[in-house]
Symmetry: C2
Subunit: 231 residues, 2 copies
Amino acid sequence: MELFLPKFNSVFSIDCVIFGFDEGELKILLIERNEDPFKDWWALPGYLVGQDESIDNAAERILYELTGLRDIYMDQFYTFGDVGRHPQGRVITVAYYAMIRLNGTKDLKPVTNFARKAVWIPINDLPKLAFDHSEIFSRGFEKIRNKISYQPIAFELLPEKFTLTQLQHLYEVILNKKLDKRNFRKKMLNYGILKELDEKQKGVSYRAAKLYKFDKRKYARLFQKELTFGK
Amino acid sequence: MELFLPKFNSVFSIDCVIFGFDEGELKILLIERNEDPFKDWWALPGYLVGQDESIDNAAERILYELTGLRDIYMDQFYTFGDVGRHPQGRVITVAYYAMIRLNGTKDLKPVTNFARKAVWIPINDLPKLAFDHSEIFSRGFEKIRNKISYQPIAFELLPEKFTLTQLQHLYEVILNKKLDKRNFRKKMLNYGILKELDEKQKGVSYRAAKLYKFDKRKYARLFQKELTFGK
DNA sequence: ATATACTGTGTATTTATTACACTAAGTAAT
DNA sequence: ATTACTTAGTGTAATAAATACACAGTATAT
């Protein structure tokens, strides 16, 4: 019965909002486009999806090709489908986000020449972006701002070992407000998902703080049974 | 610069998971398809999006055409894009959900004949569905289950006037667990978004319960400043 | 009058949230 | 070695929210 139906073709894209935290600033990954439309513009890493790849795979591939970043787990957060969003016609885009630690990932090398380069840009200093990418970014930022309020996902942005003060600063940057030091520490330690290390911060010109690690197992256990209503 | 670029064409669809609450049961809207592929199958109300409509508008139009329901506010919740999900080729689908009260909406009349009929089916009694619609439903259900845990959205499902017991039953059905009567009432009344009416339930063979109304304004005020981390 | 079925209510306990300020420890400069 | 500087690290009291738990009251039906 399916044999006589016409085959459909689709053109749609993926765009990625990749957050990183560096030098006390929240940043996202941008590329400089090397092709029309919007040649020479800054844009989110994004491209058309192939006919034979799932959107999740496409997201991984595209991020890799445009930035050189591999094995980044991304979550879909919204699909943008306004009629006029793409100058070449009807192209909807599925937006993904990820939060990653960028210790070794400062040297970004696109592997296609569709992107001239890929760069971390502070979110408070974003240029005008191609297409509706500014709106996509805003929504993505909103997404992590909401999510961090009920799930301690901020660890993904930090180096493996971090101090509580660094963690707090990250929260403050994402939530855009000051937090109380004692209450913040109490709350975080109460989650029971931090491992205190026997190490201290190095290279600071003042008393070094203790380093902590994030305990993935306990985190997983905790946030399975989360989001409950209680009895 | 854009003049010389080829025009793209897209084929993609919208699917709607519309929740209703009736006779103590949570239900969703299904249609019986009258066209290939999956002719004669049960499916979520869904169809292809036109070239010249935004996806939000398409969602409204499609729901209307397939069920006769108008002016239903829906939210996008996920986009499904597995390669093999549509037998005619690559068709991704943007899924929307809504929670509605179905007092006057029991008589559903599709206005195209793509849908033979539209029917409310209890979610515990769903037939096999076309395409990947079972998965889409599951995700949609998960979505409202999560959402209700931090936002009292259940009112949208109830008649305008309802008793606290009815509200509690609805929560219990969505969350799939028993709640404590006194604690539930305390919590709901504490939100301050319920208006106690001077009316009582009618037609019951026992003491009638007070009726309540949902106060939209207070709700809006309350859930603007929600989702905060505190100081 | 009686049985039935659901309504409506309070309190004590535990847990989480908030507000708030000083001393201790290490580094750098002299 | 003293001093100045900068951040680390800590506790408590007050308030608010979540939980556990049981029974008398009221409308209806017979």
